[in-house]
Symmetry: C2
Subunit: 557 residues, 2 copies
């Protein structure tokens, strides 16, 4: 199943049919370049799981061939898996200075620094990895310093867009290299790998600068303190908040660990400009009059432990929200977070705050960093690829992205909608998808990586729904008489005080099951346990319509 | 804390600061009329809970005063609690014929019929309950036969709107009684109780008939089979699907239990008109050519066991979706259901279907049944109430509804934003809110009603996140020696085969803890267990960063 010599292979280890854990690979003969290494947050069905990262079995098996991990930008779904990747593989990491700053924060958090080479690049860098030449172009997105990647291979040019939108008036003058993209396209692109997040949305993404205008207006109108919650990594938006504060003569406090950390990385590295003396500590807020302060905080997704949630419930030590203060939610809730965000808005209104919220277009306080249909078509038009591989999206997004590609001239049949692990091989300019490599989800739970699998999750699910019942019985080894028990312990099943009769009957059933089997001279523990599970399970279901996990413990003495 | 004689009291037992479990009460002296008895679906934090219903302690304590349960309409959040209510209280139920049909379905499902009086009313009915006179007016909503309620009391008139929108071109000619509303307002309304679901949304709700137009267009364009998923209870929308099928000469199959049940109630009672011979069985679909069939199915909210989900994964026995078929999602996902619905759309595209989805305004296949801001203002304007109590909504909705009321003339200070249980007392035309009665969530779990409380849920949460570890040790009663164990069993914690060393160390720690305490002559089980929990817990957290539930079991023999 190995790669042939002189074959160009493109595949994803994550990011397809999902939003998150982006990881793509370009391989030519024995040279592998990895693009991004993201994490993904589990949905509520993955009980107790902290993070999902790509299964990198293929990379571990081919580690001698891996030349580099190139990171397009610093969002979690592109860098969140790096600490786990580095524990298995020692590969040099290439990224822009801002992205590297965030990677370093992450490695420090994980107490991982070791001997990994972190190499700063910019859009003018040119790298060579065996027969693969790598160069870059700048793209606009909702975090600074984002790259698209160009791979020059003997088979032809492959372009990976990174995450992007077209923004002709970007905040902070983070202009994209449109001319460079046009030149790449003019010279010929064999395959385009392009992100699909907003392929369902018609039109062109609004410019980030629109947010700045609305931010200024809101600052000019507000009477009391102003709280603004947004993604810390959206440094260009943070800059616009700084500008609005400057315009209205307000000091600015940063609240929330990631806000403080990311802004300080951005300041150190010159990606944000905050006037001398503007920043104050959270503890100083109350010493100033309300119309002289703004507070930039984390928690725009309703995360229960983040600053905004704690502020909204009055549980933040240094700062409080009073009637007449304004709270701006400068972010849209990611699907799945709506309820938590709504709860916060309710609490803010109950505190008497004036709340500016709602989807981006309603309030003008948020725009997406991912291109809509017209943005995607413009990229496809600039690149004029022969083959097209839509990535970074769920199936319906990839599907719509294919339709967009065909509408601007990609030939029918030349779009590959792949799954994670599916390999597109290109040889003699002919692309085909016939083989797959191992791929999947690796679960991170506490310190364990990959040690929680389906059995553990199935048990957690049963435990979560109906709890459990442990029944212990001690039997004399020689005469088979019951010495002690049965004793029953339940957790998460019923409130014990209300259920004495129920549990009495369980004990009676267990005793009967054990003695009946003894009468039949059946001595195998496994059979006795099976029978206890069955009789107790049936009884409990009939009485309660619940199916707790039943754990019979038999002790022979 | 009882009510005074000659006091008019208004309160909610559910429906405030939430969407769901609506239940409101109007009491005058010793006469109580209950409005609606809804259920609410739990969010994912309430592990294992099937349904939430209102705490009706107050009603149980005052059952001799309850004259009636009046039901405004047949949605789950207004009737879902009735089977549980009837197990505690025998109260006659008044509702329109269609609503009663749905209540009867529910009682049959619960095998509950007994001796409850179900009394059919219409908008012309006039009832008297002690000193309270009750009459009605028709409102438009997303289910047929909805009522607003007028209470004539010695203190004045109280109006409860039910759930409503204004729809001047309703499907199925379900016209609202606008003239009657105006007349009620003209005669004077002391207090208006009005629903707030869409109080955040600007403008006027679009008409249901808009959906019909788009449905016809889609039917005319479609080539293969057409699947339409919507709420079964939205009978007027179902009628529009029937009309579109008639227009394009398609037969119609009903798929999904609630679709079949509700449509048959609607047919029997004359709320829907389906031409002779149009309905076919699901099993007959494949015998007709694809352009001659439409299939109306349940599951528009992504419910994993409902028809649409099973169709999308190819697991529906009688009918399959083929490339070229069209699937119309004629409903918006309720917050919390987005991910499940998206998964279905992905699957449908993978089957090759043409999918029409997206929020209502994008596709024109869904409109809300709840009035937007202009609808709410029109109701307030028609009723001209002295006092206003916004209900049926989360806090931010009630907040916006208050602002709307003030914008059309309700005096500041005359709006009462209450919580469930807060009582608005009106005496001598003066309203005040100073007292509360018991209220809250009652959890239904399997057959248990109210037997699962916070402790059980806390245990389920811990079990769901990190599983559990049972450690059993048998000790000789007299010499305190360990006879057997420690033995360790885990579930939902780690995959045991990978963790032998970990569990060996746990056993060593338990043994050491027990013998150390014996050396100190400590014999209390509770202390020994506490110490085991502590030492094992600390060790496991240090090793795994997980906190499984630890259950030490000590058996003395």
């Amino acid at each position: 199943m190995g790669t042939n010599e002189n074959t160009l292979s493109i595949f994803a280890l994550g990011g397809i049919n999902e939003i998150g854990k982006n990881m793509y690979v370009v391989q030519y003969s024995d040279d592998i370049v990895v693009i991004d290494c993201g994490g993904k947050f589990p949905d509520e069905s993955l009980l107790g799981i902290d993070l999902i990262i790509p299964d990198i079995t293929y990379l571990e098996e081919n580690q001698d061939k891996i030349r580099a991990l190139v990171v397009t930008h610093g969002h979690e779904d592109h860098i969140g898996g790096i600490p786990y990747f580095l524990r298995k593989l020692n590969v040099p990491i290439y990224a822009t200075r801002f992205t590297l700053g965030l990677v370093e924060l992450k490695l420090t958090e994980h107490r991982l620094k070791r001997d990994t080479k972190l190499i700063a690049i910019d859009s003018d860098s040119k790298l060579e990895f065996g027969e693969i030449g790598v160069s870059f172009f700048k793209v606009s997105h909702s975090i600074p310093d984002c790259l698209g990647i160009v791979f020059q291979t003997p088979e032809g040019t492959v372009v990976h867009t990174g995450d992007f939108k077209f923004d002709l008036t970007p905040a902070n003058n983070q202009y994209a290299d449109i001319h460079k993209m046009a030149e790449i396209g003019r010279q010929g692109v064999l395959a385009l790998i392009s992100e699909s997040t907003n392929a369902e949305r018609k039109g062109l993404t609004p410019s980030e600068r629109m947010v700045g205008g609305h931010m200024n207006e809101a600052f000019m109108k507000a009477q009391g303190k102003i709280f603004i919650s947004t993604f810390a990594s959206n440094v260009n938006r943070v800059q616009q908040v700084v500008d609005a504060a400057m315009l209205t003569n307000r000091k600015l406090a940063l609240v929330g660990r990631s806000m403080v950390n990311v802004v300080s990385v951005a300041m150190e590295r010159g990606y944000i400009h905050i006037p001398e003396g503007m920043l104050i500590e959270a503890g100083e807020v109350d010493q100033l009059s309300p119309e002289k302060v703004a507070i930039l905080c984390t928690g725009s997704q309703g995360e229960p432990m983040a600053a905004l949630s704690r502020l909204s419930s009055g549980n933040y030590r240094d700062v409080s929200i009073y009637p007449g203060d304004t709270v701006i939610l400068a972010a849209s809730p990611i699907p799945g977070n709506e309820r938590d965000v709504s709860k916060i808005i309710d609490n803010l209104y109950q505190l008497g705050a004036n709340v500016i919220y709602g989807s981006g277009s309603t309030t003008g306080m948020h725009v997406s960093g991912h291109g809509y249909q017209e943005d995607l078509k413009l990229m496809l038009t600039l690149m004029k690829p022969t083959y097209f591989i839509p990535i970074h999206g769920e199936y319906r997004m990839l599907h719509h992205h294919r339709l967009l590609a065909e509408s601007v001239g990609v030939e029918e049949g030349n779009t590959f909608i792949i799954k994670n692990g599916d390999v597109v091989d290109i040889e003699h300019s002919i692309a085909r998808q016939t083989r797959s490599i191992p791929s999947g989800d690796t679960y991170v739970d506490g310190m364990g990586v990959g040690d929680v699998g389906d059995i553990v999750l199935r048990d957690r699910k049963q435990l979560s729904e109906d709890g459990m019942l442990v029944v212990v019985i001690t039997i004399n080894k020689t005469d088979r008489k019951i010495i002690s028990g049965p004793d029953t312990i339940t957790r998460g099943f019923v409130f014990v005080k209300d259920s004495e009769d129920l549990l009495k009957e369980v004990n009676r059933l267990v005793k009967k099951t054990v003695t009946d089997l003894q009468d039949e001279n059946i001595r195998q523990w496994s059979i006795i346990k099976q029978n206890i599970k069955k009789s107790v399970g049936q009884y409990l279901y009939a009485q309660t319509k619940r199916k707790p996990m039943i754990l019979p413990i038999i002790i022979e003495i």
